[in-house]
């Protein structure tokens, strides 16, 4: 244990440092200068994102409580990029909305704190660590969801999120306590092979699973999703829908594949059933939404179902594919939420019908929106297609053809509602369209990065090859 090995935690350490710097910066700048805090935050974060790409050694720390390897650090990098994009896109909203009450710095502090929680979450190899970091990732977000303190909806979203999260973490803890009783340890690697099949361990597994499924918003643990996404400020919904979900998927994958490999015959059917249920419920609810944020919430529920389908194979292909898909999903959803957020900030419009004639006034934004939605739907040559295709491949590799078929039927349903938005933006004209507006440079940079990535991740295969090559270290 020396400083050198502590550098394995580079991501977390720098991020903590960043939070502390921001705390100070936030105190230093007052009044009109508060605006600068956001730029400083984004600049620092961008710098940090760059640094984080430096190669990193593999290893464990703190007696096996914290682990890092290439897979984990590349996933952290993906999350970093996602958060960077969200921060880029949120500056516009922050300046419009919150400059008056001087809370710009806190926004970033909370955001980064939650990200820190995610990092500890995906690095944790101990259930205690898992629990604490899960809470660290949730609590700041609940604060962020209630961030817009003058909006009733925002407060409602915060309440709903924190209460749901509390009850889910209660059940989660209860489950862990059973696993602890059955396996005799809190360390993942101690638990491997020592859990055994018993009513107690199975109940524990399912309760534990429910806690993570809550974060991923699988049916029937998804109900908070739509309400919170709708009420929370859009950047926060964006964050919840991509970063929070991805991290939870990742750790769920590790725990299920490694720790609970013994119980594979138990969780496979659960995943199978919930995957179907999630896809259908998510799609059916999304079909009738007018509010775009709710719409995307249900669409993200449905996407979670697809991810579960990909996880079923429980092999290297599954892990690589799920990580790859989550990376694509992050970009697609950020793109969609980003456009919605820009429009909401500038014109206050959120309904699908308000987007009638959108292409004719704001062609570029409409294009970004369309590409993002097509990526979510899985239309080539946009990356989402490749992600989805590999998920199907992963599921089919274990012979789940029926599930693949159901999934593709669901893609068709989902295409329908994605096309509803495209229809509004492209096909229709309106007497009262969203007026043309010019975006600031940061928003543009963010959206351009999104679009470029959407094409690049899919067509440029070395990215997938890289992910595939780092995955083979799963065996703890």
């Amino acid at each position: 244990m020396d400083l050198n090995s502590l550098m394995l935690m580079r991501h977390e350490l720098i991020l903590t440092l960043l939070i502390l710097i921001l705390l100070i910066v936030d105190i230093v700048f007052t009044g009109e200068n508060k605006k600068k805090v956001s730029y400083i935050a984004v600049a620092l974060f961008a710098l940090y994102t760059l640094i984080s790409f430096l190669p990193l050694k593999e290893g464990t720390l703190f007696g096996g409580m914290f682990e890092t390897n290439k897979m984990i650090s590349s996933f952290k990098n993906i999350l970093n990029i996602g958060v960077l994009l969200i921060s880029l896109l949120s500056i516009n909203w922050l300046h419009n909305k919150t400059l008056k009450h001087q809370k710009v710095g806190e926004f970033f502090i909370l955001l980064f704190a939650s990200l820190l929680g995610m990092f500890f979450l995906i690095s944790s190899r101990n259930f205690l660590m898992l629990y604490v970091s899960l809470e660290l990732s949730t609590l700041p977000v609940t604060a962020l969801a209630a961030y817009d303190i003058y909006s009733r909806k925002s407060s409602e979203a915060g309440i709903k999120l924190i209460l749901s999260a509390a009850i889910s973490s209660g059940i989660f803890l209860f489950g862990i306590s059973f696993i602890y009783a059955a396996g005799g340890s809190l360390y993942f690697h101690d638990l491997v092979g020592s859990i055994g099949h018993s009513y107690l361990s199975i109940a524990g597994l399912i309760m534990f699973f429910a806690g993570l499924a809550f974060k991923i918003s699988l049916v029937p643990f998804h109900f908070w999703t739509a309400d919170v996404y709708e009420g929370a400020p859009t950047p926060v919904s964006n964050y919840l829908s991509v970063i929070s979900k991805s991290a939870a998927v990742f750790i769920l994958m590790i725990t299920l594949f490694v720790t609970f490999r013994e119980l594979i015959d138990i969780w496979t059917p659960i995943l199978y059933g919930l995957s179907i249920l999630t896809m259908f419920i998510g799609n059916f609810f999304a079909l009738r939404q007018q509010n775009l944020k709710r719409f995307l919430a249900f669409s993200s529920v449905a996407q979670a179902g697809f991810v579960m389908m990909g996880m079923l194979a429980a092999n290297q292909l599954a892990v690589a594919t799920v990580i790859y898909f989550m990376a694509i999903y992050i970009f697609s959803n950020i793109g969609a939420f980003g456009v919605i957020q820009v429009v909401e900030t500038k014109s206050g419009k959120l309904n699908i019908d308000d987007y009638n004639g959108f292409y004719r006034t704001n062609p570029n934004l409409a294009l970004v929106l369309m590409l993002s939605l097509f990526s979510l739907a899985g239309i080539p040559p946009i990356a989402g297609f490749f992600g989805k295709f590999f998920l199907y491949t992963s599921a089919a590799s274990k012979g789940y053809y029926l599930l693949v078929f159901i999934a593709v039927v669901n893609v068709t349903i989902s295409l329908y509602y994605y096309l509803l938005v495209v229809r509004a933006a492209f096909l229709r004209t309106s007497d009262n369209p969203i007026p043309y507006f010019k975006n600031d440079a940061l928003t543009r940079i963010g959206l351009i990065i999104v679009v470029v990535s959407l094409f690049l991740i899919g067509l440029y295969s070395p990215l997938y090859d890289y992910i595939n090559s780092v995955v083979n270290v799963l065996n703890i």
């Binding site: 205690l128 209630a146 309440i159 209460l163 803890l173």
Partner: protein, 105 residues
């Protein structure tokens, strides 16, 4: 270890408290009361850890430490939740759960 009380009995107690918490969460009409139910749930979980630790694996401290963390997290959570609740009260002058249903379907 309490003499005369088996692990099963204590676990029964904690389970019942857990589900009383859930019952309370589902039925209370007041946000603060709901939050109190959450405390019951978290406490019973913490109790579980301690009991397992003591009865089954007394040579290490994982469970006990876990419950310390649960208590700490619960405190943070409560503080945050109460802050949001009070803010909501400032906005709508009510804590009824029925007033929380503006977003649905």
């Amino acid at each position: 270890m309490i003499s005369g009380i088996s692990i099963y009995e204590i676990l029964t107690v904690s389970t019942i408290i857990f589900f009383i918490g859930i019952y309370g969460f589902a039925t209370r009409k007041n946000l603060i009361a709901m939050l109190m139910s959450v405390e019951l749930i978290l406490n019973s979980a913490a109790l579980n850890f301690v009991i397992f630790n003591k009865y089954l694996f007394p040579e290490e401290l994982g469970g006990a430490i876990f419950s310390i963390f649960i208590i700490a997290v619960a405190a943070a959570e409560t503080a945050l939740a109460l802050a949001i609740i009070i803010n909501l009260y400032r906005l709508i002058m009510s804590l009824k759960t029925d007033d929380l249903e503006t977003m649905k379907y």
